[in-house]
Amino acid sequence: MTRVRRLIEIIGAIAAGVAGLTASMCSGLAGEVLVVSQTAAELAVLDAKTDTISYRIKLDAAPAGVAVSPSGHQAYITHPEIRQLSVVDLVSRTVIAKWPVGRQPFAVAVDGRGGVWVGDWSADVVQRINVETGSVMRSIAVGRSPSAILMGASDTHLYTVNRESDDVSIADPVSGQELRRVAVGRGPFAIAGTSDRTQLFVVNVQASTVSVVDPQTFKSVFQVKVGRMPYGVAIDERTGRVLVTNQQSGSVTVFDAKDGQVLSTVPVGQFPEGVVVAPGSGKAYVANWFSNQVSVINVADGKETGRVTCGAGPRMLAVRPDSSS
């Protein structure tokens, strides 16, 4: 991509952002779930009130990770196979920038000030990317193949799940230093945390367990046995329940965050991966990779209430916050 084209995209982004702000103030944003379908190369935006897809945006090849800006105006999507980070304007519903990033950009997270962090699967680093210029602002060496990133409360820390070194890195995003490693189970892949970050939940794909980590004591406090090949995890803070997708079992395990007691196992579609809870809705959404559907789960009673068809190969999900609440 030429510099001129980048500049045009940036200008477009600013214009779209201004237009979007006006539009969102008029309509009021509803809580939405972003569904990234890797095979179909599209982003579907699902309305969490009606559980229907509101709109779709075509993406470049093989999109994987997704995160949403604090304002809800932008989404950041990684494409490990083409080494790209796409910036999507959710208001104008267009891709406004495409930045070449690293070697296999996979995980992505956004901090409280809108800083975008990308984990590079084969370079073993997490980098903060300036989404307006595509430049690397900070680079933190972490464990092998960082597959997920979680920001600490108030962004004081940054946690990465390291798929190939079986641990979690705790880093200081300001100094750019890795502070500690906490060993977890075999093949850790995804992470969720309570909002105060006193508990972190890490799924271990190869061990079929969840490690519950206390980031203050740097210890894995207890483990929860779940289904086969757990790939995704989310917490519903209202009920204190943790949901884990079991990719090879085609189910979701629901357990109590306090003691790890398994409350229910919910059958969903084939090969479920990503899971998110739409805050305040009492509903969780699960990407069924093989079935090309998103399952809707009522967290309180652990029942699947519906399935929404989406593009082929949905893996990762993100929540776009409801700005009117």
């Binding site: 490990p80 196979e81 699967w121 084969s122 193949s145 990719q247 090879q248 190969g313």
Partner: protein
């Protein structure tokens, strides 16, 4: 310098580990077949994890340890004499399915670096419907795989393997009459 070292380490990881697969896009395959035999008869054949070469005509031989319980292992020998190691994840008697995964890849004989798969049987009229589905990654999970180890090669290999296997299963069960 560091970059070059990292590249070398990266390549080493691709060659040496089945678990290094998640950066690229996973692929899927699903094949089904109708068999003129009751589900119980099909299931009795399917659930014998180590005895897979008894029905899968894409194989020359198979042997295993640990019976039909989770954690059992088997070694399968392909027609090209290449060997793969597989691990059993679940035999579900109630729902009649077997879940298993590749535990030791050999991309020179089978161009897939990791797969997990499920084979199930359900009643279909007087006969059975057998469904075999798999999720897998190409043989070379770097961003620039050669043609023989790319997504298409993996998809072709898995699809052909499932088709041959199901045809073999059907032939065995229908021959029994």
């Amino acid at each position: 310098m560091n970059y070059i070292l990292a590249v070398i380490l990266g390549i080493g990881s691709v060659m040496g580990s089945t678990a290094f697969a998640h950066g690229p896009t996973p692929q899927k395959a699903e094949e089904t077949i109708i068999i003129a035999a009751p589900p119980d008869a099909v299931w009795a054949v399917l659930k014998d994890f180590a005895g897979v070469a008894g029905w899968n005509t894409a194989l020359k031989a198979s042997k295993g340890e640990g019976g039909n319980t989770a954690g059992a292992t088997r070694s399968i020998t392909l027609k090209n004499d290449g060997q793969l190691e597989e691990g059993l994840d679940e035999v579900n008697e109630a729902e009649k399915y077997v879940g298993y995964r590749l535990s030791k890849e050999n991309v020179e004989v089978f161009p897939v670096s990791f797969y997990s798969a499920t084979i199930s049987v359900k009643a279909d009229g007087d006969g059975s419907l057998v469904t075999w589905s798999g999720r897998f990654y190409r043989g070379d999970t770097s961003n620039f795989p050669p043609d023989n180890l790319n997504d298409e090669a993996a998809l072709n290999a898995m699809t052909e393997f499932f088709k041959q296997g199901l045809a073999g299963l059907k032939a065995k069960l229908e021959a029994k009459g």
